[in-house]
Amino acid sequence: MTTTDSPQRPARPGDHAERAPARRRRRGTTERGFNRVFRWIATGAGAFILATLAAVALFLLIRAWPALTASEDELSDAVGRIPEGTSLLEFVGPLIFGTLLAALLALALAMPVAMGIGLFISHYAPPRLAQVLGYLVDLLAAIPSVVYGLWGFLVLAPVLKPFWFWLGENLGWFPLFAGQVSATGKVLATVSVVLAVMILPIITAVSREVFLQTPKLHEEAALALGATRWEVIRVAVLPFGRSGVMSAAMLGLGRALGETMAVLMIISPGFLVYSLEILAAARHNTIAAFIALDFAEASGLGVNALIATGLALFLITMAVNMTARAIVARRKDFSGAN
């Protein structure tokens, strides 16, 4: 290339060294310019997220600090619900427990259904039906949580009540169904069902997307070995979708952990107890519902105590996400990524 530039005269030392890099630099600068802009945007976005996260954590920590360091007497004076001689931990512990219990039960209920619908849409339903079903599921996501709360309170609780009684009578030996079954149906079990319906769309949508992305190559490999449709799903689709489904579950769990209105409207809250009896009244509450209920009346140290429970929720959600990532990363070698 460089020699054709000056065919008449012999190349002198220095010619190449000056020209070629000059041309390269010209092309290089624009490319590098775009690169640099893009890198700044990407880095900026990343830094922004980190900064936001840090700011939230810092806010929670600073505002929770007075409550974390306050004496038991000061706390019970400031927050009506905290009886004499109860430490913050004794108070927040059951709330954390209730939050996790409700969210995990909701996840356990929603996962099989969501994956079933996701698989049906991606691999069984005729295209037309698949599309309609997809829309319907997405519509579920558009319903505001207040409406879910009302529905749970007015419709679902009475409907589920006989079923809860049946469970209590027949499976009462099972720790979750033990204890006195509530006469109103406004219990953690009902809350979990409502939460399950609320997180169904996001889990379904993500798993459907993941299942649809299974490489044709792997599905055909299974088919060519004589796999039935279900076996194709077992050998090719599910293993490929593992980490994606895990992310879907985490998204759902995150929403269930933080849900306020639906829980607040349905549950008859209980305090200071750790209880597995999800059919009994006044045994549980969740952090989000607790904060929402008490925030309006709280002042001074009371606000700090509420923020301290919020901090606990923040930490739980982070822990859940990190655990999920660790699980996904553990079998990276065997993932479909390579």
């Binding site: 055909e220 088919l223 060519a224 004589g226 490929f240 065997f334």
Partner: protein, 259 residues
Amino acid sequence: MAQRIDVNDMNIYYGDFLAVEGVSMTIDPKSVTAFIGPSGCGKTTFLRTLNRMHEVTPGARVEGSVELEGVDLYGDDIDPVAVRRNIGMVFQRPNPFPTMSIRDNVLAGVKLNNRKMSKPDQDDLVESSLRGANLWNEVKDRLEKPGSGLSGGQQQRLCIARTIAVKPQVVLMDEPCSALDPISTLAIEDLIQELKKDFTIVIVTHNMQQAARVSDRTAFFNIAGTGKPGRLIEMNDTATIFSSPAVKATEDYVSGRFG
């Protein structure tokens, strides 16, 4: 372990598009048959009708019959899943299951077909299949590692091991070497010669030398123009196809004058 295939007047469609028209041929047991022809003439399409993989594509269908030892694979009471268990397939791109170990990849088909198999039997099968695919010595120390960690050529031989582990009657191969280097290609060609002792083999290839080296019979497919259906032009002993073909188009193609 090896059976003969008779194809009668196959028309193959994608929806309304007739991709391949009027193919009839006989494929002998324990032989290697090569399909050659220009790109887009329907070699892959036709190959996939031999084990009913064609109908996996939405809207795809066929007319005509494919008989395996006299039994029509497209008969009403035939389960396509059973057909595919009898007629294995190796794809153009190596496709081991990425989430499975090498060992599980080999056993994948067997586990589908017959779930109960003792551990020693499984070990024997893994070894014999991998030996059959000339891969045993390279992987015997890392059977529990993921199959996707192998080289492309090794992955393709793993796919062949996986296919022969279910002991099919027929093995179909769609350009099995097109993603491989010359050394791996030779390894697979040698392997095909070995496999021919037990299986009926059909191989699609773009490589004339390969067709000449490995096959006993060669079928030449051609297409009149874009949008027209592909057809079987000529099928004969490989030596004849490459030395004195009956049709001018075949001669032009094998001598590299078009295609």
